[in-house]
Amino acid sequence: MERARERLWRWLDERIGLEDLARLAKKKEVPVHRHTVWYYFGGMTLFLFAIQVVTGILLLLYYRPSANEAFESIQFLMTEVEFGWLVRSIHAWSANLMVFSMFIHLFSTLLLRAYRAPREITWLSGSGLLGLTLAFGFTGYLLPWNELAFFATRVGTEIPGVLPLVGPFLRRLLRGGDDVTGATLTRFYGIHVAVLPALTTVVLAVHLFMVQKHGMSSPPGVEREGPKRSMPFFPNFLLRDLVGWLSALAVLAALAAYFPAELGKKADPFQPAPAGIKPEWYFMAMFQTLKLLPGHILGIEGELLGVLGFGVVGLLLIALPFLDTRAGERPSRFPAVFGITLLVYMVVLTFLGYTMSPTK
């Protein structure tokens, strides 16, 4: 037995260089300081993403991407297929938790200023993953082809449509036609299960490679305090990661069992939008902004201003490592102010979105 294992190891080592990988794993260290907890959320996001891949593939086996069949195929999955409800509920909940842990990862790396040189590419690829994740959420939301999904997609694809000149073209491109129809569903399906996964694989590989290359970043405050403590990634940190992942799995299972994903009513393009319509929570702040902006501001249509505002915030976020280049003694205040303002804005508007009367 022992011999066989040894021989297998040697055989693989000669071909793919296991020794090198093992040495690499042993070398990796995780800094230990009062902000260490935040290091868990990148791995957590990755873990939840893995769950998405697995459950997503399972869902593919029963889903039919057409306006006539999508809703029914999910109904079938939820009621007839054994554990179908569980697989779908886990996919839905894990998506939510993944976005949540991604936001924590984003804001913690922002506030700990982990994006500083030479980690610009890590930050850029991370921003790319943020965009891809939101795109996953948006395209996946339509697939059940229910009422909420239909209107969320109508509004969502209308948003780039308000841009001058390119707007109508973009809207058509996204929708696969002038309206949200079965063509939009097929298009979103293709994006959700093929285009986004392919892009994510590439960007994720870059992101993870950069993290390996540069190691974990310590926040500047900790760095100034002098000698660093650290723990080996393998196995110490990884085992802690595992505890986190198992807890996440437990939470997921509980959520999926007690609050299974709903299906609602089938989309009908000739029915009014239902009262109290809401997007997924992670789009709520944007949704609420569009709701509060009046029709016209200084002669410009309110929603155009809103959309441009979202664009500016996104660009500032992406460009952060290039805006905060002052190293050393007097770091720029901008990132902290920007990050905290953004966070507070998102929390407050999301809160308003869930509490303000929708019908006044």
Partner: protein, 153 residues
Amino acid sequence: MANDVLSPGENRARRDFLNWFLGTAAGAFAASVLYPVSRYLVPPKVEESTAHTVTLSIKPQELKPNSGQIFRFGSQPAILVKTPAGELKAFSAVCTHLACIVQYRSDISHIWCACHNGHFDLNGKNIEGPPPKPLEEYAVNAKGDQIVVSKRS
């Protein structure tokens, strides 16, 4: 060997030519792939339904005052409203804000958009919330048992 008989200058020229040639070929190849693909991604224009008039299957007397109903106007949803005063009105049901479908709310006698709480009055005018423009109004003719709605030109 060819290289031996060429002077360094000639060698240079040959390299430049090859670079130019390869670059152009690669560019032409990329363009000939990208162009059809990008055209492919843009959906073809479908014949827009040129409905200018529709005859509804609703009878005028079936509609109660202070109520509204969505109907198909070509490929687009439209809304027929009977005002509290008993007048028939029709509008496009596509909200001018972000294209949700509006509804008639009898509790406030307004046309209302649930998506971002937009309000329109009985003339389709945007009176509250984010919608920037009034709803497009259609002409309604009640002839005997039929309601005929047409675009105003």
